[in-house]
Symmetry: C2
Subunit: 382 residues, 2 copies
């Protein structure tokens, strides 16, 4: 980005899911033009972004055609093949995050190798090719062993918690490359979101607690309640350290386990992240605005919270496709609740939106967010 | 609106200026689909709303074609002929605000008649057809006399402040129907924004001070500093009373003069208004979200302020078309400043965007907003 007339640069986002959709509001404000590469013209972000191109992110020709005229390319998801990202760069396109950074969010073995090398706390881990490798790993680190698909897992998919050798076979049946990790007896899960721009500026958002059910994040509490100040600072240092060491440009979400012995890194994502949706209203600069600023190498915005307590609850589809009565109830019940829908039809268990509540008392704010999310999903009054 | 799947209703906005553009972010969040009727495909809102139709808002056929499939029709501006709005309604379309309300924002004589009838304080006024009518009005109310075009004026256009009979001819040269108003020796200008939904729910935002230069609003201070509590409550009562008496559905902005003798209504607008842009970050529910909720007859949102002091400064185009270096400076200088660009090329004096600053101290917040707006417009460091 080097001119602003003030119709600004074109940011191309590969993927047109809810993350690209939620990037449109700050792009509108900042005068940045978005383009998305969608699988279909009615996808979540395609419904709200004029310059939508339909194509296959696994096809280099589609990616090269998409990239023409973009000032920078970034991502809604991590599924673009690393070699295609390198090819885009070789063709002169600016891609942020770049392949050398992004590979650590695409390949869990590469991530573990690199984090171990830079001294970031991780669970014990090993690449495994056979059930014998897993038994050998368990002999050293004990059961349960967590087996993970090296590539492509998300929202609990591609993860197998094996309590004994008997449970290992199912993971190998998936036919994908696996990584073994020692089971971490964690107290809760935390997440820290940081942003880094190409010229090296970094910022960290407050550390949040993420509440999971069946491997899916259902609630995010900001800031993480009762978190020791030194632990919070350490989590932020870990986030910024990873971002700098890996050369991340854009956002980095670091999912952490809080254990009796301290913090351990669970996963990385290099894009706006579900654990940061609370920032839309809860921070001076939303994660979506921050990602745009970072990938355009603009000065980063303040990550300061706008309220003392913010709770985001994911909205999962239930059995009822028409949510009108529930929608109306929730808006009437709580004039301060903020609803976010992703333009997706209801399917049971599908993330179709989220709600955010803000205030000064965490328990009260959490009850408000939960009421709205549960009522929208189930029609039950909590 | 009666179903939500959760891909919601279609709201058609006639006009594709910055007000329609700024309605897209809350529409995205609420799952509401927007359609705009634009003059050209590169207009402000057309750049960010997928379902853009190009047509002429003065042409009934274009309006009828546009309205097909919309759940409700609303407006980005007040220039649609009243008879066309009645025709849309006669064809079974839902238009909010309706013609009977909107005419009071289109026709200043109709507005003065109605406000006088319901006992809302106005300046002395009269319809005038000749210079003699104006002299007769001045004989009763003294000079200066403010002559206003009954229809079509905005941002200082269509207003002539005549200090003597010698200055009256220029207004009649415009060849439009005129209204005479007594000049109000005001101390400052205020604005109150209210929303009303078809089922009769009303809310009022805090009263703000609007700072004008050459008939154009340059700054909005929220809440109006030092405003007497009783005056603030009276302004809110005036706003809600007008909204109810006129049957407004959607937003109503009431511009007021604060005088030594109390408040006097200056102008009405029935749509999101420049004096409410501060609500995007400064209120729990932005005026754009509120307008959508009101025209869809959804429960209204909380108008509560998110900070103690909010200042919005309009960004006017200067001589420099490429604002990149200024944009970068402003973002770096103040990580908390919020920029809003309207997707419009720079032209001297043209509103191309606005900036908003939030905080606890009005003077400090105002200095931050002014720094950003002045630097972006002129490159001068204040």
């Amino acid at each position: 980005m080097s001119s602003f007339s003030p119709i600004g640069p074109v940011v191309g986002i590969v993927g047109a899911g809810q993350l690209a959709r939620m990037t449109q509001p700050p792009a509108i404000a900042l005068g940045i033009e978005l383009r998305v590469l969608a699988n279909a013209p009615d996808e979540s972000a395609a419904r709200v972004i004029v310059d939508t191109r339909v194509g296959d992110y696994r096809d280099l020709d589609d990616l090269l055609e998409f990239a023409k005229g973009c000032d920078v390319i970034t991502f809604d998801h991590e599924h673009v093949p690393t070699e295609h990202i390198r090819a885009l760069t070789a063709h002169g396109h600016i891609v942020r995050p770049g392949a050398d950074a992004l590979v650590h969010a695409q390949d869990k073995a590469a991530m573990r190798e690199r984090l171990t090398a830079i001294g970031v706390p991780c669970p014990a881990w090993a690449r495994v090719s056979t059930a014998e490798d897993v038994s050998a790993f368990a002999a050293e680190h004990d059961w349960p062993v967590v087996l993970k698909a090296v590539r492509g897992g998300y929202d609990g998919r591609g993860v197998w918690v094996c309590r004994s050798a008997d449970e290992v076979a199912q993971a190998f049946e998936a036919g994908v490359e696996l990584l073994a990790e020692a089971f971490v007896p964690f107290e809760r899960e935390l997440s820290v979101l940081v942003a880094r721009s190409p010229h090296g500026q970094g910022v960290s958002y407050p550390v949040v607690e993420t509440v999971q059910q069946d491997g899916i994040c259902v609630e995010v509490l900001a800031p993480a309640p009762g978190l020791d100040q030194e632990d919070a600072a350490q989590a932020q240092r870990i986030g910024l350290r990873i971002a700098h060491a890996l050369g991340v440009t854009g956002l980095l979400a670091v999912e952490l386990f809080e254990t009796a012995d301290g913090l351990v890194v669970n996963e990385l994502a290099m894009r706006p992240h579900n654990s940061g949706h609370w920032t839309i209203e809860g921070s001076t600069t939303s994660q979506f605005e921050q990602h745009l600023r970072a990938v355009l190498d603009l000065p980063l915005g303040s990550p300061r919270m706008t309220s003392q307590a913010v709770v985001m609850a994911n909205l999962l589809g239930g059995d009822e496709p028409d949510l009108f009565k529930r929608y109306e109830h929730v808006l009437a019940h709580d004039p301060g609740i903020k609803l976010h829908f992703y333009g997706k039809q209801v399917r049971p268990g599908r993330k179709i939106g989220h709600v955010t509540a803000l205030g000064s008392n965490l328990d009260e704010v959490r009850a408000r967010a939960r009421h709205a999310a549960v009522y929208l999903a189930t029609g039950e009054y909590t």
